[in-house]
């Protein structure tokens, strides 16, 4: 059940929009459209990770449609901004954003997780145009992003390196090795983005592996930390957070976004139960209208 995209929510229109307020509303719509498309896709394929994909829909939309300097027609442009999706299980939303940004045909999304597809279960940089690093095994992204940011310094380039981490990545010891090392080397334009949705595969993070006090930990590890937890589902707040990032002079920088796992569907949000569970027919029939309702509201606001 595919919905058509509103004319004023088309990617090309959004990229061309100069008015910040209008653009934010358009991206808010687009992120919800991506979310609904991912829900469709995961239901259709019977595989994939809904919870963690839904929680980064707005963040990825803001990055690819506003924040990052990229060239979809030249995916390996050496001066592009980099994104490492350390929580690689959110691949479906990444692919949806990349396809709509022009890296590959939107129709190709239909091959997700199928044999002979460029869209692997978890992101693969040598398969999918626009993917800057293969991820999947958790805990790698922070180190990789640090390497990319250090390479920029060595080569006197000005690109930005963003890494998106979830609770699972923050459980991994390697992330904290990389946090220490980043604070030692202090590469410019290295930004960690925390998708803090409070849930992981097995349950609430507070039960599985408490991360609090997370801000204090980042401070203690020598990072410049966002002054607040921004609402990771509000494009306006996300854009504000990047305004803050661009004002920073000390590196590295970490921004925390409060998000909801499985956002947008009443019975999948704020629970671990739809981390990787199949969106079966019953869940789809119940959840899809909720996503459409929100989408219609956002379209009306355009």
């Amino acid at each position: 059940m595919k919905t058509a995209m509103a004319t004023r929510g088309q990617p090309a229109q959004i990229l061309a929009e100069k008015n910040r307020g209008k653009k934010a509303a358009m991206m808010q719509y687009l992120a919800q459209k991506f979310r609904a498309d991912v829900f469709d896709l995961l239901h259709e394929k019977g595989t994939g990770h809904w919870g963690g994909a839904s929680s980064v829909a707005e963040l990825l939309t803001a990055l690819y449609f506003d924040v990052m300097a990229v060239r979809p027609e030249e995916p390996r442009w050496p001066d592009r901004d980099r994104l490492v999706l350390s929580k690689g299980h959110a691949s479906a939303i990444l692919y949806t954003a990349l396809a709509n940004r022009g890296y590959f045909p939107v129709e190709e999304l239909n091959t997700f997780r199928q044999l002979n597809s460029r869209l692997q279960g978890h992101p693969c940089m040598n398969e999918t145009p626009g993917v800057d690093m293969s991820t999947g095994a958790l805990g790698h992204g922070m180190s990789v992003a640090l390497g990319m940011a250090l390479a920029a310094r060595i080569q006197r380039k000005k690109y930005w390196t963003y890494v998106i981490l979830g609770e699972g990545c923050l459980d991994e010891g390697q992330t904290w090795e990389a946090m220490m090392a980043a604070a030692k080397f202090k590469p410019e334009r290295l930004v960690a983005l925390i998708d803090y949705n409070g849930f992981q595969l097995d349950g609430p993070s507070n039960e599985i592996m408490p991360l609090a006090p997370l801000f204090d930990k980042f401070h203690a590890f020598g990072w410049k930390v966002s002054p607040t937890e921004w609402n990771g589902h509000s494009i306006r707040e996300i854009l504000k957070s990047f305004d803050w990032v661009r004002q920073q002079k000390e590196w590295p920088v970490v921004v925390v976004y409060k998000t909801q796992k499985g956002r947008g569907v009443s019975f999948t949000q704020d629970t671990h139960k739809f981390h990787g569970a199949v969106i079966d027919d019953q869940s789809y029939a119940k959840g899809q209208p909720e996503l459409m309702q929100t989408l219609a509201e956002l379209e009306a606001a355009l």
């Binding site: 050496p78 490492v84 693969c124 940089m125 040598n126 800057d132 690093m133 293969s134 999947g136 095994a137 805990g139 790698h140 180190s143 990789v144 992003a145 640090l146 390497g147 990319m148 940011a149 250090l150 390479a151 920029a152 060595i154 080569q155 010891g173 390697q174 090795e177 990389a178 220490m180 090392a181 080397f185």
Partner: protein, 314 residues
Amino acid sequence: MKTAGKAVVMRDAFGQALLDLAEKIPELVVLDADVSASTKTAGFGQANPDRFFNVGVAEANMVDIAAGMATCGLRPVVSTFSLFLTLKGADQIRNTICYNNLPVVLAGGYGGLSDSYDGASHQSILDVAMMRALPNMVVIVPADAVEMQQSLRLAIRRNGPTFIRICRNETPTLFEDAAPLEIGKIRKLRDGSDVTIGVCGVPTSMAMQAAERLARDGIAVDLLEIATLKPLDVEPLVQSASKTKKVLTVEEHTIYGGLGGAVAEVLAQHAPTKMDYVAIQDRFAESGDYAALLAKYGISVQAIVEKAKALAGR
């Protein structure tokens, strides 16, 4: 066959090679995990502070930093003790370096039993098995400092990952005047029709001496030096095995997954041949003098001679 030349400390030669390459290859960067004074990358770091990264004792992090750098056009050499590199960095080497086929050189220092006095906790006798199991990985076990420097130069320019095992200690120079090492090529050191000896790494000089002794006893050894364990140079190996019908492998590694395993895999498929292995049995070693330790754990001229004779039926 030329006799062994002067002994050179392989890790010193490694440090010197990095220094020499720094100017020629501006993309070269070096990472170490708080053992740069031991692995000898410290000299590179002093001369090139902007291209040297000591990440502390954090091998996993080090490997992935190198991966990120490699995606941006740099040519990283990652250095630490081979045991810690290949085990603590295993997930990173597999999922980031090899999966993406990134041009990173993994320099496994203190290879084999060469960290002899530090004991079993530091001795790297399964690194080759680990690295051989990884798609896209090229695995090189140099026999002397010359081969180590040559393989390093080649590896830094390769468009994919390369593991090079480096001995901590003095090793005799064997190939100073020989043709330069080629990745993926077996070096034929001696022609014979009675038994094939395939050898890699530090025990190469032992195998050369053993072949001399065996010749005096009337056993002609076909001696192959196999510095590249992956990809294995199949043709000369199969040719030799087809000729001698008996193959002995010699290596400073456990009997599982190293040179012996690699040769057995190939011969089982192309030329099933009676084989034996000079290697460390399935056990941990201990502290002690390097040469004595090698001998105690089954790697010596004597052990090679005895196993070759038994294979040859003498």
